[in-house]
C-alpha cells in the first residue's frame, strides 16, 4: 500500500482530550466526532484538513483516555495516516483495531506542509519536499493479520 499526502504537524504528548474533547463524547457518530477533531489544540484543523493529509507528531501521541472516538475522529476527518515518534499504547491498539494506519519513526525533520509518500510494504517514508527517505519497522505478523483482515473483529471471525 502506498499513500501520498500533505503534512499537518503537532508536537509531543498530543492527548485524546484535545483530539476529541469529552464534552462531545455523548455520541458515537463518527461524522459528529470528526467535526470537533483537534478542537482544543487547533481550531483551524477541521477547516483545513483535506482527505489524504498525513498527521505528524512527536512522542507519546494519543496519551490519556482510552476513547476510541479519538482515532475514529482522526480517520473520519480524512487523515490517511498518523506518523509519530511514539504512540500511547491504548491509542496504538485502537488505531490498529479500527484500521487507521499509524507509523512510528523519527519526525524531527518533517515540517508542516511537507509532502510525504509512504510505502507500507517496503517500510519507507519519503519526504518529497525535503528529498529524504526514512525507514520504519513493519508491524509484527499478528498485527499485520488484523490489519489485513480489516480490523480486529473481522480477524476473529465475528465471535460466536
Amino acid at each position: 500500500m502506498n499513500i501520498k499526502g500533505t503534512v499537518i504537524k503537532y508536537g509531543d504528548n498530543v492527548d485524546t482530550d484535545v483530539i476529541i474533547p469529552a464534552r462531545y463524547l455523548n455520541t458515537s457518530d463518527e461524522k459528529e466526532l470528526a467535526a470537533h477533531c483537534m478542537e482544543d489544540l487547533d481550531r483551524t484543523f477541521v477547516t483545513r484538513v483535506r482527505p489524504g493529509d498525513i498527521m505528524v507528531a512527536g512522542t507519546n501521541f494519543g496519551c490519556g483516555s482510552s476513547r476510541e472516538h479519538a482515532p475514529l475522529a482522526i480517520k473520519t476527518s480524512g487523515i490517511a495516516c498518523v506518523v509519530a515518534k511514539s504512540f500511547a499504547r491504548i491509542f496504538y491498539r485502537n488505531a490498529i483495531n479500527i484500521g487507521l494506519p499509524i507509523i512510528e519513526c523519527d519526525t524531527d525533520a518533517i515540517d508542516e506542509g511537507d509532502t510525504l509518500e509512504i510505502d507500507f510494504d517496503k517500510g519507507e517514508l519519503h519526504n518529497l519536499t525535503k528529498n529524504t527517505t526514512a525507514k520504519f519497522a513493519p508491524f509484527p505478523p499478528f498485527l499485520q493479520d488484523i490489519i489485513k483482515a480489516g480490523g480486529l473483529l473481522k480477524s476473529i471471525g465475528g465471535g460466536k
Binding site: V18, A22, R89, N94
Partner: protein
C-alpha cells in the same frame, strides 16, 4: 530467565509456562469492563461484526458512571443502549445504574469483583487501578472490549517492566497521590510507555490499600500498560472481606528482569501538585507561588474513596471554604456515600460550604457537575490536567491529594495541608 509478577499472570492466562517481553499472546480474560462513553461504541462494533452472545454473563460488566445521572438527551440515549443490551444478553445484574452505580474503579474493588491473580481489561484507561490488588489489569478501546465480550480473549504484547523499590514510610499529610505525582515528575508522561510498573520493597507494607489503588490508578499517566503491587496481608484482608472467590497470589521471580530499578524513599516524598497541562509537571510547595483558585474537586477513581473523604473532612471540619471558591465533593460509590454520611463527614462538608454530589466521574473529564469557564483554575484530586480536560481550553487544572485540595479550598489558593 525469571518472570516479573505481570508476566507470570499473563503466562497463566494463555496456558504458557513462560512468556517474555515483546511476545504477543492471546489471553483469557476474567472480567471485561465498559462505561457509558466507551460501551456504546463497543456494542455497535459487536453488532456490526455479527456477534450474538457474550462469552460469559458473569464476566462482562457495564458501569454507567461518566455522564450520569444523565447530563443530556444524548447521554441518556447512550445509557439506554447499554441497559437494553445487557438485558437482551442476560447480564442485567452486571449493568450498574444510578442508585447503585459508583465510579467504576472504586466500585469493582469495593464489590470484590477483582481479586489477586485476575486478568481484567476495561474500555477505560484507568482500568490499571486493580494492579493494587495484585491483578493484571489494563485499559483498552471499544473494539477490544467488543472482541473480548464475544470471545473472552484479548491480544496483549507482554510488557517489560520498571521496578519501583519502595522504602520508608510516608510523612503526615503525604499520601499515595503525592507518591505517584512524584514518580510522574521523575519519569514523565511516557516514562513507562508500554511497560509494567512493578512496585516492591519493604515500603509497600506501610501503604494503605487506598494509597496503593491511587498509585496504580495513575500508572497510565506514566504511559504504563499496568501498575502492580505484591499481595500481602493487607491485600488479602481487603479481598476476603469482599469476595468468596479464592485469590491466586503471584510473585515476581527473584531473577526477574527489569529494564530499570528506581528507588523511592517514601519518607522523602513531600506534598506535591501537578501543574497544567501535564501530570508530569510535579512541584512541591517550596516551588509554588500564590495561585488563587476558583474551584476544588474532591473525588474520582483516583481519590474518591472513604479514606480520601476522611482526609478532606479532617481538614475542612469547622472551617469555611473561601468566598469565591466552589468546592465539590463526590463520594465515588453509594457505599462510600452512606459510610461518609454515617460518620458525619457529609455534614462536615456541607457546613464548610462544599457541594456534595452523587457518585459520578462528571467534572474529572469536563462532562458535568463542575465544568470550568475560560481562565478558571481548579485544584482537583483527579488524574489528568490536559488542555480543556475540565472545561474551557483556557482553564487550568492542578492535580493534588485530598489533603492539599481541602487546604486549598479553605485558603482560596493552592495551599499545603498543615
Amino acid at each position: 530467565m525469571g518472570m516479573t509478577m505481570t508476566q507470570k499472570i499473563l503466562a497463566a492466562h494463555c496456558g504458557e509456562k513462560h512468556v517474555e517481553a515483546g511476545q504477543i499472546i492471546l489471553a483469557d480474560v476474567d472480567l471485561v469492563l465498559g462505561n457509558d462513553i466507551t460501551t456504546p461504541v463497543a456494542i455497535n462494533e459487536f453488532k456490526k461484526a455479527g456477534c450474538t452472545g457474550v462469552y460469559d454473563q458473569n464476566k462482562v460488566v457495564f458501569v454507567m458512571d461518566h455522564f450520569t445521572p444523565n447530563k443530556d438527551i444524548k447521554a441518556a440515549e447512550q445509557c439506554k443502549q447499554m441497559r437494553d443490551f445487557a438485558r437482551e444478553k442476560g447480564f442485567a445484574h452486571h449493568c450498574f445504574d444510578v442508585g447503585e452505580v459508583g465510579v467504576e474503579h472504586a466500585l469493582l474493588p469495593e464489590r470484590g469483583m477483582v481479586i489477586p491473580g485476575d486478568l481484567v481489561i476495561g474500555a477505560d484507561s484507568h482500568t490499571c487501578t486493580y494492579g493494587a490488588l495484585g491483578a493484571f489489569s489494563t485499559g483498552v478501546g471499544s473494539t477490544d472490549m467488543a472482541a473480548a465480550m464475544a470471545t473472552g480473549k484479548v491480544w496483549l504484547k507482554v510488557p517489560s517492566a520498571i521496578k519501583f523499590n519502595l522504602t520508608g514510610k510516608l510523612n503526615k499529610h503525604v499520601y499515595g497521590k503525592d507518591v505517584i505525582l512524584h514518580i510522574l515528575g521523575m519519569i514523565g508522561v511516557d516514562g513507562a510507555l508500554y511497560k509494567s510498573m512493578e512496585f516492591a520493597g519493604e515500603g509497600v507494607s506501610a501503604l494503605s490499600m487506598s494509597d496503593r489503588l491511587c498509585i496504580a490508578n495513575m500508572a497510565i499517566e506514566c504511559g504504563a500498560k499496568n501498575g502492580i503491587f505484591p499481595v500481602d496481608e493487607k491485600t488479602l484482608e481487603y479481598v476476603y472481606a469482599r469476595t468468596k472467590r479464592t485469590p491466586v497470589v503471584y510473585k515476581a521471580d527473584p531473577d526477574a528482569v527489569y529494564e530499570r530499578v528506581i528507588d523511592i524513599d517514601l519518607s522523602a516524598v513531600r506534598q506535591t501538585v501537578a501543574f497544567p497541562h501535564l501530570p508530569e509537571n510535579a512541584r512541591t510547595f517550596d516551588e509554588i507561588p500564590d495561585i488563587p483558585i476558583d474551584q476544588v474537586v474532591i473525588g474520582s477513581c483516583t481519590n474518591g474513596r472513604l479514606e480520601d473523604l476522611i482526609i478532606a473532612a479532617d481538614i475542612l471540619r469547622g472551617k469555611k471554604v473561601a468566598k469565591g471558591v466552589r468546592c465539590i465533593v463526590i463520594p465515588a460509590t453509594q457505599k462510600i456515600y452512606l459510610e461518609a454520611m454515617e460518620m458525619g463527614l457529609l455534614k462536615d462538608f456541607v457546613e464548610a460550604g462544599c457541594a456534595v454530589s452523587t457518585p459520578t466521574c462528571g467534572p474529572c473529564l469536563g462532562g458535568h457537575m463542575g465544568v470550568l469557564a475560560k481562565g478558571e483554575r481548579c485544584v482537583a484530586t483527579t488524574n489528568r490536567n490536559f488542555v480543556g480536560r475540565m472545561g474551557h481550553p483556557e482553564s487550568e487544572v492542578y492535580l493534588a491529594s485530598p489533603a492539599v485540595a481541602a487546604a486549598s479550598a479553605i485558603a482560596g489558593k493552592i495551599a499545603p495541608a498543615e
